[in-house]
Each structure stands twice: as structure tokens, then as C-alpha cells.
């Protein structure tokens, strides 16, 4: 893992220390206390820093993601900035990269599996197990019904053309490889990704 306690949280503590010392020496103890009472905590305090790359274009700028747990204990992104150590972007980001936090936390992020039944006017929730069982059953039945083992000349062709799969060009290589294995092992030929469009 590539996570460290934020160096900024360290700087913040050090900076506050300097201010307290100088103000105290000048006899502003009360003013200092009042000031501190309404200054909110620096937002990157106690965040984790993680190296990542921007998911948009293929310049692949380095970014640092700051996250901390929310009330439910899940780690949430609170800030994203350019990675100054990255050779390509050297800390800079474009108008898309600079707004990445609100992409991760978009209100239209999906949070549960949904199903839209034939003819229905709305989605309804479905449990993961039910959704996956349904998908597996549909794959099995359709493959068994439409798999072409040999062509007219009797040559083994082992292809299945009634199912298609579009893969995502923003997923990792590792997701792509797992996807490749699963899709190809079934004999799917209607296989594509964004490289064409």
C-alpha cells in the first residue's frame, strides 16, 4: 500500500505551534484562544494519501487522493490534487482532473443492483445473489441453445454469436484480463471496447 499519514497534517501542527508561541509572547493569550475556538480543523487532518492516476484521458496524470472514514466507517474521498512527483503532469491538472472529487462522490453513483423487468416503467432493487444467478442462468440457457459447434463443412468453430460483450476502456489491465478470460472461454465473438469508438 502506498498510504501515509498526511504530511500536511504534520505541517499544520507545526504551524499552529509557531503561531501560539509568538502570540503568547506578545500577550495575546485570550485573543489566541478565541481565534482557535472558531477555526475549523484543517480538512486534510488525519486523511490518508494514496497515489493514483486520473481516470479520464490517456495522458494519465498522477494524482494524490486524500480520504478519511465517514460515519459508517467507509473511507471517503475528501480531496484530490495533482501529484508533483509525476513526470508527465508535475502536479498540474486540467478542469476535469481538478474536479475529480465530485466525480467520485457524484449523486448519480450507483449503490445497489437494480432490475427493470420487461415493459416496466421503473427500475427496482434486486439482491446481488439474485441478479448474478439470473445472469448466469440466462448465459447458460442462451449459450446451450445457440452455440455453434461446427460449421456446414463440419469444421469446429465453437462460437456463440447471440451474446455480445462491451468492455470498459477505463478499467485496469487486470480487470481487462479477468474479463477476457471469462468472455473468451464461453466462445463469445461479439466482443469490443472503446478502442473503436
Amino acid at each position: 500500500m502506498n498510504i501515509d499519514l498526511s504530511r500536511r497534517s504534520f505541517l499544520r501542527l507545526a504551524g499552529a505551534g509557531v503561531a501560539a508561541t509568538s502570540l503568547g509572547a506578545l500577550g495575546f493569550g485570550e485573543a489566541e484562544a478565541a481565534e482557535l475556538a472558531h477555526v475549523r480543523d484543517f480538512k486534510l487532518t488525519a486523511t490518508t494519501e494514496t497515489r493514483n492516476t486520473c481516470p479520464y484521458c490517456s495522458v494519465a496524470c498522477g494524482i494524490i487522493i486524500y480520504a478519511r472514514p465517514d460515519d459508517t466507517g467507509k473511507r471517503r474521498v475528501v480531496h484530490i490534487e495533482g501529484d508533483a512527483d509525476h513526470p508527465t503532469n508535475r502536479g498540474t491538472l486540467c478542469p476535469k482532473g481538478a474536479a475529480l472529487k465530485d466525480f467520485v462522490n457524484a449523486p448519480t453513483r450507483l449503490t445497489q443492483p437494480m432490475i427493470r423487468k420487461p415493459g416496466a416503467a421503473a427500475f427496482e432493487p434486486i439482491a446481488w445473489d439474485d441478479a448474478l444467478d439470473r445472469i448466469a442462468r440466462a448465459i447458460k440457457d442462451d449459450r446451450d441453445a445457440n452455440f455453434l459447434a461446427t460449421n456446414e463443412a463440419g469444421v469446429p468453430v465453437n462460437r456463440w454469436t447471440t451474446m455480445g460483450f462491451l468492455a470498459a476502456s477505463a478499467t485496469t489491465n487486470e480487470t481487462a484480463w479477468a474479463t477476457y478470460k471469462v468472455v473468451r472461454s464461453m466462445g463469445v465473438v461479439g466482443f469490443d471496447n472503446q478502442a473503436r469508438v
Binding site: 447471440t162 478499467t171 489491465n173
Partner: protein
């Protein structure tokens, strides 16, 4: 990219044509700014619109969408006519001197062998003369009229500056100024880089656009050198990776091919992949194809793939057509011949041409499954959104399952950037709600299907039952396990081919790189070009040493680039025939009398003598190809072809519509419009504030560019009575959209073949879900036609009409 983003700082001249890097790749474009500032490099932009890149260019010229080949062939003609040729490079490192068959020729816009009925060429004449020794015949003096150089000279002769202006609309003086600037880079110490993207690929002859520039770069000696190259800027963050790993109908990872049904067995499949060198002593590295292929089969099916069952050759599907690409699949779907469809992080309802057809096709599916971190229009194609998605919901009988997946911040693994760098990233945060990552989802589907086949049997279950799945947690393979699998490992001891007593890799160990792959079943590797990314030294993709010795821009220890951590492809060509750099100030590698070494991994065998082994080691000729034999369907040289929907006729052949070998489905042919009804040329484009259809979900980006617009010239606005900021209706033969009119000086009418041509720019970032206002994209208007070689749709040149519409103007 042949080079990398950070290498662009080494250039003297940047040509951006077929792209708009300042807008679409802003942080990479900073390296152009760096080259301009530090080296005094110049920037040329050729584009139908005066783009954000053009606004910082040293020289700009307009061009009619879809006419780039004429411009590029005109440039090649200029270089030949004015002796702006890097002769030593051309003679030694290209196929200029190879002799072509007498039967080959070109007339009336077509090459020899055209069959109008089949819409295809018999390409047998597009090849070299082979001598009695089995090698291609050459004439190093370039005197033979049938050598590639003289055929090229004859081929481009018609593209005079006047002809370029007539076809492209680029004023002759602007074209000549650009030709002159480019010509300076024929010096061995001056270099140009080409930066292009979808502006070149999304045409029915996209691959030929790119070949045109690649040929020019070879003539100037700009391939393999620092600050040079052919640099595809690419789109999505891992589009390079997905292509490398072959998630396409006809590919196997590492640019191997899915067999066709004409290749009935392993031996037949391998026979056409012998890759025997066509010149003496040349590398022809694809001769190692069997090693890559056997290692792939072992990686997929382990012990079930053995020599005596042809390495489980029949576990692979065999194609009856060149590919079941996205356009063919939607045609089959529309015919009711597809039942299940999966969209993993893909929004085809907005991304594929002729949205009406896509909606119709999806409505005929039994089941559509989407996996995405965000809402997509595709998952809701059945939902009525008024004019923005006017469907009869109740009539659509498709079941849709929408699965919530992770985004980049919640996942670990490598993405491949345009410069072929595999950059590892780490998980920063947790997924919202019940969302799960894509590997888990794929594993769950696989394990369930495998279980059904185990218990019930069924159609040819072997490739499913025997698929290797020996992960620590089969329910969720770890990214590192998958990465190690792609790199490859020794299944049994791997021996040194020159010393059979010496073991180079012990069983179970990760392979050093693809030089250790074998075709005897002793190695497994999922993707041979990634071999070396995760070896016994560890995860090289996670390296973060950003040192750059002597500031070459190579950053050799930052992550890992394929192949073999090589940063500049064809870098052997950066040196002359004696192995010395053409430009000593831009050395990448050099020959020290015994071996090659330098700042980058040499793109040649380290001990290959410079005067003997030529730099283009993947080619059978050992040299690069100005003439591409029968390797492309639409010609061995690029020739001007109009877009399928064009305001003018092809000047070489009035009967020829579009690219004569493009596959056109009958219904889609009927959906093509003509310039009588649709007089204006439309082209799609992107904005810096948005990424495709993703950022409309982001409140910040949605606020920056909230509303769908189309961009037109002041002249067209005046001609059609369109108010600045007023609402307009734009329609094609296939559909209609309503938008705000952005009336600008950035687009000007052009004169092509004596006719005034207006351009309508159509950005593509709006739909009917997300935080931005509802809108449409260009795919409501575009035709279903793909490039002749790779089926990339023609999004950049089609015909529309435009008129004012009811609605209040915005300022």
C-alpha cells in the same frame, strides 16, 4: 504513441492534425509548450475549426473534414519535388528500393484488382517481386521504375498544391507555408512530431490518414528519434491497455489473432504466420509467434492445453467474418439475432452511430446487463425522457440488470497511457453502498456459469470448465495475481536456447521477459508484450523513480512501458548505418563497436551489427513500409477518398462514393443523405471541461459547460437567419437534435471544388441523465459506417441541415 508525452519536449516542430491536444489532452500538451519555450519549437495546426490548440499555434490552416489524405499526399509530393528527403534514412530504413510487381497500378481513384460487386480488392498484385533466393528484389540506386520510391513519386504526382486546395479547401499559400516548415525537418538534426487522435481515426479511411503521416515522417527520417514519431494521443485512460489485451472480436492479447474458420487446425493457423524474413539477415521478430501463442493458450487453459491436442486450439472460437465489431453486432441485434448484451463501463446509446438504430436494436434484446459506477443512458434506454429519449417504454420487452461497480479511486491495478507506460495505482477509498469492483463481478458470473456446466452439462463446456482460475480467493482474484499471470511464469524448467544445460527460469518462477517464452508448453503468459512488467524483481509497474538522466525525457525507471520497458519505439533508427546518432544532441542509443546501449532499451538485438540488421525488426523486410503490400484493405498507398456523405464528388472518380471497400449494411446505405438535402458538413468534437458522458454527472463540470450547443460560422448563421445564442434544429438523414447556436469566427466557410462548404461543429457531452441540462450527442445524426480496416465509425465527416428553432436565445 511511438514516443511519450515527456519526449515531446525534444521536438523542433509539432503538427497537430486530426486532434486538438490543448483541449482534449491539456496536461500532455504542456510538453508542446515546453518545446516551444525551451527549444523554440514551432506548432502547426490543421483543422476544420480554429481550435484551442490553433489559438496557441505558430501557423494554422483550415481543412475540410475528411480530406486529410489529399493534404498529406500533397506534402509528400512537395518533399520529393523539393528534395526535402532524409535520403540516407529513406534508402536504408524504408522499402523505397524494393521492386513491386508489374501488374500493380492505380487509375480513376482505384488500385488494381477492384471488384465492385464484392466491394473488395484482389490484392495479389500489391506485392514485391521475389527473387530466386526467396528474398524481395531491390534496386538500391532507386533507378528501377518499379521500385517503391518511383511508384510513390508517381502516385503522389497528382496532388499538386492546386489539387490540394481544390479537394481540401486549404488555401494554396497556407498549404505551401506548412510544407516549407515541415520540409526543414528532413535535416537529420531537425525533428517533427505528429500528434493525432480521433480527428484522424473516425473516418471510413481513418487508418489511411495515419499511414499518410507515417510515410511523411519516414521520408523526413523522423521515426525512432527523440522528439519525433507518430503519436496517437488516444482517448480513455486505459484504451491502450484494453487494445493491448485484445478485448476485441478478432484479437488475442499482444496483437495475436483469433483464428478464422478457414484455419481449421493449429498447423494451418501457424502456416500463415511463419513471418519468414523478406531480406537477408533481418530479424522479423513475429517469427516468435508460436511462442507467444502457446504461452497464451497455457495461460488460459493450463494442463488442458497440450501439444497433442494442438494446445486446445478448438477452445478458441473461429470467425466466419473478419470481426463481430460493435457495428455488426447492432446490425445483428436489429435483425433479432442477439439475445444477451453486456456493457461494462460503456455507454453505447450515446457512443455508437445512429442512435435510433441502437435504441431499436436494444429493444430486441432479451437481457441487457450494465456494469458501471454511474447512471448511464444505456441502462435507461427504455425510459421516456420526452424529446430527449422518446421511446414507448411499455412496448420494450428487454429486461435490464444494472450492476453498480467501482471507480478508479476504489480499485488497484495498472492503466496504460498513450506512451505505453503501465502505471500502477492504489485503492484510496471504499465503494458507495453495495457497489463491487469489476473483477469480483466477472468472477461471480464465471463461477456461477461454471457451476451450472458442472452440474448440468451443456454445449461444449470444456473451455469453461478448464479455464485456469487458481487464485487465492476465486471469488475475487487480486490485481497482483492477474498482473503476474499476464507477465507469465515458467511451468517447467526453461532452458537457454544456446546452452541446453543452463536453466534460465526455474519452474514456478516469474519470467524475466518475453525472450524466455517457449513454444513447447514450458511457459505461460497471458499477454506477451507485458512480459517483464511483473517479474522476479517485483511489480515494475509500481516503480516511482522519477530520475531522468541527462534530461532526455525517457524517465526509464518510472513505472514500466511495453515492450521491455522501451520508451521510444524503433529507436535503432535514431542512428545512422554506422550506429552513430543522426543528431548527437539527441542521442537515445548508440553502437560502441560491440553492442547497443544508451538511455533507452535498444529496439534491436543488443549485438545486431548496425550495417546488417535493419531497425524495423517486426517487419519481414527489416525496413519500414512506404508501400504496405496487401496489409490494408483499401490500398498499399493512401489515395483520396471522399467521406460517404460529402458535399463534393471524388475528383478522381465521380462514381465512387466514400471508401470503395467499406462494409455497408443495406439498411444503413438507405440511411445515407446527399448534399442536395443536407448541404452542410458536420464534425463531432470534445471540450476540455468534459470527458465524454462521464463529467455531466459532476456538478463542477456540469456548471462549466451546462448545455448542448452546436458551433457554426457567422456566414452560415447569416445565411440561415440564425441568431447568436438562438435555438436551432440540426438534422441528418438519421435523426434530429435541438441545440443552442454558438456563432463564432472559429469556423469559416471553405471553397472546395468551386463550391462553398460550411462546417457545423457538434460537441458530444450531453445526454438525459446526470447533473447537466438534458441534450443530445452527434450520434443521433451520424451514419453507421466504419473504417475499411478496423471499423471505427465515421463520426468526423457527415452531412446535416440546420434551421432556427423555437425557443429563447441565451447569451
Amino acid at each position: 504513441m511511438t514516443n511519450s508525452w515527456t519526449d515531446i519536449k525534444n521536438t523542433d516542430l509539432v503538427i497537430v492534425m486530426g486532434g486538438n491536444a490543448a483541449e482534449a489532452h491539456p496536461c500532455g500538451f504542456k510538453w508542446v509548450t515546453e518545446a516551444k519555450h525551451q527549444r523554440g519549437a514551432k506548432l502547426i495546426v490543421v483543422d476544420p475549426r480554429f481550435t484551442r490548440t490553433a489559438s496557441v499555434a505558430d501557423y494554422y490552416a483550415p481543412i475540410r473534414p475528411g480530406s486529410d489524405i489529399a493534404f498529406l499526399m500533397g506534402l509528400i509530393r512537395y518533399m520529393i519535388e523539393n528534395d526535402k528527403v532524409q535520403w540516407e534514412y529513406v534508402k536504408a530504413f524504408t522499402n523505397a528500393s524494393l521492386i513491386v510487381k508489374d501488374e500493380f497500378g492505380w487509375a480513376d481513384g482505384l488500385f488494381t484488382g477492384y471488384d465492385e460487386e464484392k466491394r473488395d480488392y484482389d490484392k495479389s498484385s500489391w506485392d514485391y517481386v521475389i527473387g530466386d533466393d526467396g528474398f524481395a528484389v531491390t534496386d538500391p540506386t532507386l533507378q528501377n521504375p518499379r521500385c517503391v520510391w518511383n511508384l510513390l513519386k508517381a502516385h503522389v504526382d497528382v496532388y499538386t498544391p492546386e489539387m490540394v486546395e481544390r479537394i481540401t479547401g486549404t488555401p494554396k499559400d497556407r498549404f505551401l507555408k506548412i510544407a516549407e516548415m515541415i520540409g526543414e525537418c528532413s535535416s537529420p538534426t531537425k525533428t517533427m512530431t505528429s500528434m493525432y487522435a480521433l480527428g484522424w481515426t473516425q473516418h471510413s479511411k481513418g487508418a489511411q490518414n495515419i499511414r499518410g503521416m507515417a510515410m511523411l515522417q519516414l521520408i523526413l527520417g523522423n521515426i525512432g528519434v527523440r522528439g519525433g514519431g507518430m503519436n496517437a494521443l488516444r482517448g480513455h485512460s486505459n484504451i491502450q491497455g484494453l487494445t493491448d489485451i485484445g478485448l476485441m472480436s478478432n484479437l488475442i492479447p499482444g496483437y495475436l489473432n483469433i483464428p478464422t474458420e478457414r484455419e481449421a487446425d493449429w498447423a494451418t493457423y501457424m502456416t500463415s504466420r511463419a513471418f519468414k524474413p523478406l531480406r537477408p539477415g533481418q530479424t522479423s521478430y513475429w517469427q516468435n509467434y508460436p511462442k507467444f501463442m502457446v504461452s497464451f493458450m497455457k495461460s488460459m487453459w493450463g494442463d488442458a492445453a497440450q501439444k497433442d491436442n494442438d494446445w486446445a486450439y478448438h477452445y478458441l472460437p473461429k470467425l466466419d467474418v473478419p470481426s463481430y465489431d460493435i457495428l455488426r453486432m447492432y446490425e445483428l441485434m436489429d435483425e433479432g439475432r442477439v439475445n444477451l448484451y453486456f456493457c461494462q463501463g460503456f455507454n453505447p446509446l450515446l457512443a455508437t452511430p445512429n442512435r435510433d438504430k441502437v435504441t431499436r436494436a436494444f429493444s430486441k434484446l432479451k437481457l441487457l446487463v450494465t456494469m458501471d459506477p454511474l447512471e448511464t443512458e444505456t441502462a435507461r434506454f427504455w425510459e421516456n425522457h420526452g424529446a430527449h429519449n422518446d421511446v414507448d417504454t411499455a412496448a420494450i420487452q428487454t429486461e435490464v440488470i444494472q450492476l453498480p461497480s467501482s471507480c478508479f479511486a476504489e480499485d488497484e491495478g495498472a492503466l496504460v497511457n498513450s506512451g505505453r507506460w503501465l502505471q500502477w495505482h492504489w485503492k484510496a477509498s471504499d465503494m458507495p453502498g453495495e457497489a463491487r469492483n469489476d473483477v469480483w463481478i466477472m468472477a461471480q458470473i464465471f463461477l456461477r456459469v461454471r457451476e451450472l456446466y458442472r452440474t448440468e452439462g451443456g454445449a461444449f463446456p470444456d473451455p469453461i470448465l478448464n479455464l485456469t482460475w487458481d487464485y487465492a480467493d476465486p471469488n475475487e482474484p487480486h490485481p497482483e495475481e492477474l498482473a503476474r499471470e499476464m507477465n507469465g511464469r515458467a511451468l517447467s524448467a526453461v532452458y537457454d536456447p544456446t546452452d541446453p544445460t543452463k536453466v534460465v527460469a526455474e519452474p514456478g518462477k516469474q519470467l524475466l521477459n518475453f525472450s524466455q517464452l517457449r513454444d513447447d508448453g514450458s511457459t505461460a503468459s497471458g499477454c506477451w508484450i507485458y512480459s517483464g512488467s511483473f517479474n522476479e524483481a517485483g511489480n515494475n509497474m509500481a516503480r516511482r523513480d522519477n530520475a531522468d538522466p541527462d534530461d532526455t525525457g525517457a524517465y526509464p525507471n518510472w513505472t514500466w512501458s511495453w515492450p521491455l520497458n522501451r520508451r521510444t519505439l524503433y529507436n535503432r533508427a535514431s542512428c545512422d548505418l554506422n550506429g552513430k546518432p543522426w543528431d548527437p544532441t539527441r542521442k537515445i542509443i548508440e553502437w560502441d563497436g560491440e553492442k547497443w546501449s544508451g538511455y533507452d532499451v535498444p529496439d534491436i538485438s543488443p549485438t545486431a551489427k548496425p550495417g546488417e540488421v535493419m531497425p524495423f525488426i517486426m517487419n519481414q523486410e527489416g525496413v519500414s513500409r512506404l508501400f504496405s503490400r496487401g496489409l490494408m484493405r483499401d490500398g498499399p498507398f493512401p489515395t483520396h477518398m471522399e467521406p460517404f456523405e460529402s458535399p463534393v464528388e471524388n475528383v478522381f472518380n465521380k462514381r465512387m462514393r466514400g471508401n470503395p471497400v467499406v462494409r455497408v449494411f443495406a439498411k444503413d446505405a438507405a440511411d445515407l443523405g446527399t448534399s442536395d438535402e443536407f448541404p452542410f458538413v458536420a464534425t463531432s468534437y470534445r471540450l476540455t471541461e468534459h470527458f465524454h458522458y462521464w463529467t455531466k454527472h459532476n456538478v463542477v463540470n456540469a456548471a462549466l459547460q451546462p448545455e448542448f450547443f452546436v458551433e457554426i460560422s457567422e456566414e452560415l448563421a447569416a445565411e440561415r437567419g440564425i441568431e447568436r445564442g438562438g435555438r436551432v434544429r440540426v438534422w441528418s438523414k438519421r435523426g434530429e437534435v435541438w441545440a443552442v447556436a454558438l456563432v463564432t469566427k472559429r469556423i469559416k466557410p471553405m471553397i472546395c471544388d468551386g463550391k462553398t462548404v460550411h462546417v457545423v461543429g457538434i460537441p458530444l457531452h450531453w445526454g438525459f441523465v446526470g447533473a447537466a441540462r438534458k441534450g443530445w450527442g452527434p450520434n443521433s445524426l451520424t451514419p453507421v459506417l466504419g473504417d475499411a480496416n478496423v471499423e471505427t465509425p465515421e463520426f468526423k465527416a457527415f452531412l446535416v441541415n440546420i434551421e432556427p428553432a423555437v425557443g429563447e436565445a441565451v447569451s
